[in-house]
Symmetry: C2
Subunit: 480 residues, 2 copies
């Protein structure tokens, strides 16, 4: 399309779009209603955009970065928009451009002997795992959502089996990334894709792009390490007198099962009640009137044929823990039913009222004390509110939801909830916690990054971003 | 000491030393003979220095960086000088200053429930592991040497159990780092120490300092994740017809033992003969006339009481592999004797003649082909030389030593060996390999970094170093 058929280029976004329409062809740009689905995320959070660009390959991504540099347009890379900090959406100005990787979803290579796969950024995690399953392999990041691989890496997602398999970062062997050119030329393609487990040749540049949501470069492809699929599993649901007991039971399971301990999820009894109330089809596996919390414990290995041994050891351990008063009751088996309960928690709790969600993490030794402290404080300072907590106790993670019953919504306007959020993060910091365990940093929690991250670290992060992207072409969140 | 009692400050190094003598006290600086032990490394590689500085705490490190900025002195951080690329030593100019962390070796915290330890950079790995062992914990980086924790992290060491436990990077939870101030003030202390497993709050800055040998900042302390000590182990020594069989046997062990496979080391029969020849006390466990190579396979878990089950499964697997012709013979048990053989390889091979050592890595699926290719090529192009290979086959690592028998030393001058090294790295690159699997980058292999690392990646690495250290205060190796 020549420029004479274009409407007058009123903004940088229009000129940018016109150039890309020529370069990439018309199907690569969406505007207006067609762009809509790209401007809302899983939370219902919305943005506006001058355009949505959908490149088909790495060279096109490089061209998009070049055009953005020349026209002074900010790009916000996005995958499946399943993130929980609003990082995949352009802001409300309508001047930013969403760069969707959704048309780049090829499996470039799957190497069973190397246990690795090289995939384009737009491929969904579930799609990769289907291909891997044919070889009894998996990318073991266990989430409630189905992000694109690029989004998964940009968020450095954690999930429920981090205790055994680590976060996304640990499973990334290589990346292909397009970084902006300092002089407005096409983006430069960094080929850091080789699927090597030992690779120690200077700065590990790929780390810069993991967990930074596209603010340093656009991930176009990734090589990931695959793990053998689990062949032996034992799952138990446990009623616990309190959180201190949860810590001791975690330690005991690690003593007896070592590296086979795969997940140790803890949820408060209030959280579990919210689930059984919201979803009557999900039955409480183990109503225990004196339980303060419950644990879902999974032991697993890719070594086959261990099921009966694991069950035997689990029974012996539970008998000891029960005799010591650390376990009130336990129900083994039923892996899928237990995980359905666990995975229904966020939605069930959301139904209890307006939810203020916190994704915090601690040294495991501090979790119980933090939880007690925060519940006490809320009871005193905010007696009208309810608190629900659940999460990845085994790796120090805690999802905490403060719920405002609709009857009291009027008493909790924006100023008061902002103050409450701030106070709760203060409490977390006093227990050596982090304000973002596994969701990353985006517009929804940027203020807490400014407040809680070491000032010297913020300065360095900003300097690194300026060095990588001096024209500020990239990123919903800027570190400077 | 006032400046009037100093000899005339002939160089920047002298003025720098005078200032630090005032600030840190006289014991913190070594010159001349006293500095000697700090100027030679485990390879016998040597450097010269204007001084060796030995700060006692993080604040003193910050002061040293400030003085270095003001006097234009380059600092080279060093630990136990066990690295294999010369990265811990000042160059030969005599103008650089060695910054030794050897007086900072405190265990700041060991948290058994969190399975973590926070230690100062100068503490030795063995010292940390002794403290951890009291709690049946370990930092599972398994090396032939005993680096300081700072050196371990600066080199991102790999080792023999990477297959199960990952490299050093994977085991680091947090760092305390001093980075240079852009305006010549005291170094800025980055407190990134919190021992969190889930910590996803923007750029993971600590990654910049892992594997970069002090070129971006001085690591003064680290928080590391500890693993449960192994409680069940099964080790087997296996004679293999060839390297293709080694790949298939690796795959079969992973199918049967999954995540319990801990080490899969392969060595050529020539390498093993070199050991039994050099150290007659070390007996060949399994002389097999038709074996091209041998594997040391270790299966292990922190889950106790699995020894007899592992032995049973191993026997069944070996019988199948033997029937398929993939295994010629096997000797189980004798864990310590097997590892003694394995660990004696480097020294035994060094006795065969002048050694050109290569630390290369590949996708596991490419290892056998590379090995065949390189041996063929050497046989044709350099028939007087011998080649020995051994290493971490299970994670794609390969230590390859080209040995020049003393009778032919005259035929291999510097030019020819330089050419040979270059040609061999070319071969590795053609098999998607990396020129530095686990030793890092330093003066001994910097030329290969320049040649084999993606040009756009080198530019970015240099830009990041300039952003972090604009006055070029740090680093034996500069990325620019």
């Amino acid at each position: 399309m020549s420029s004479t058929t274009m409407p007058p280029a009123a903004t940088a976004g229009d000129a940018f779009a016109a150039e890309l329409r020529d370069t990439l062809g018309p199907g690569a740009l969406l505007h207006g209603e067609a762009a809509g689905p790209h401007l809302v995320d899983v939370l219902g959070y919305t943005g506006r955009a001058a355009a949505v660009v959908l490149p088909r390959d790495t060279a096109e991504v490089a061209a998009v970065l070049g055009a953005a540099s020349r026209h002074g347009v900010r790009l916000v890379p996005q995958g499946n928009r399943t993130g929980l900090v609003g990082g995949a959406l352009p802001d409300g100005s309508g001047r930013q451009v969403a760069l969707s990787l959704s048309r780049m979803r090829r499996l470039r290579e799957l190497d069973p002997l190397n246990r690795s796969a090289t995939v384009e950024a737009g491929m969904a995690l579930s799609e990769l795992n289907r291909a891997a399953a044919a070889h009894r392999l998996q990318l073991p990041v266990d989430l409630g959502s189905d992000p694109s691989i690029g989004g998964l890496i940009g968020a450095n997602a954690g999930g429920s089996r981090l205790l055994k398999y680590g976060d996304t970062r640990r499973n990334v062997l290589g990346l292909e990334v397009v970084v902006p050119d300092a002089h407005g030329g096409p983006g430069r393609v960094l080929d850091l894709l080789r699927p090597l487990r030992k690779h120690n040749a200077g700065v590990d540049l790929k780390q810069l792009f993991i967990g930074t949501g596209g603010a340093f470069g656009v991930i176009t492809a990734a090589s990931v390490a695959l793990q053998r699929a689990e062949q032996s599993t034992d799952t138990t649901f446990i009623a616990l007198p309190d959180y201190a007991a949860a810590s001791r039971v975690l330690d005991a399971f690690e003593q007896d099962f070592g590296d086979l301990l795969c997940a140790f999820e803890v949820m408060s009894s209030a959280s579990l009640e919210a689930v059984t109330e919201a979803f009557p089809a999900l039955r409480h596996p183990l109503p225990a009137p004196f339980a303060q919390c419950y644990a879902l414990v999974e032991v697993a290995s890719a070594m086959p044929g261990l099921d009966s041994l694991l069950a035997e050891r689990r029974d012996a351990l539970l008998a000891r823990l029960h005799a010591d008063g650390l376990v009130l009751d336990a129900a083994p088996g039923h892996t899928e039913a237990f995980w359905r309960l666990r995975d229904a928690l966020p939605e069930a709790i959301a139904r209890q009222g307006a939810a203020l969600s916190f994704d915090v993490s601690f040294p495991r030794s501090r979790l119980a004390a933090f939880r007690e402290h925060v519940v006490d404080w809320l009871r005193r300072a905010h007696p009208l509110l309810r608190v629900y907590d659940f999460g990845h106790f085994g790796d120090g993670g805690c999802h905490l939801v403060v719920s405002i019953p609709s009857a009291h919504a009027a008493a909790y306007g924006i100023a008061r909830t902002v103050q409450l959020r701030g106070a709760l993060y203060e409490l977390a910091a006093r227990h050596d916690g982090c304000f973002s365990a596994e969701h990353g940093v985006g517009p929804l929690n940027a203020a807490f990054y400014r407040k809680h991250v070491d000032a010297a670290a913020q300065t360095l992060a900003a300097g690194l971003q300026t060095a990588t992207d001096p024209l500020a072409v990239l990123g919903r969140f800027r570190y400077g």
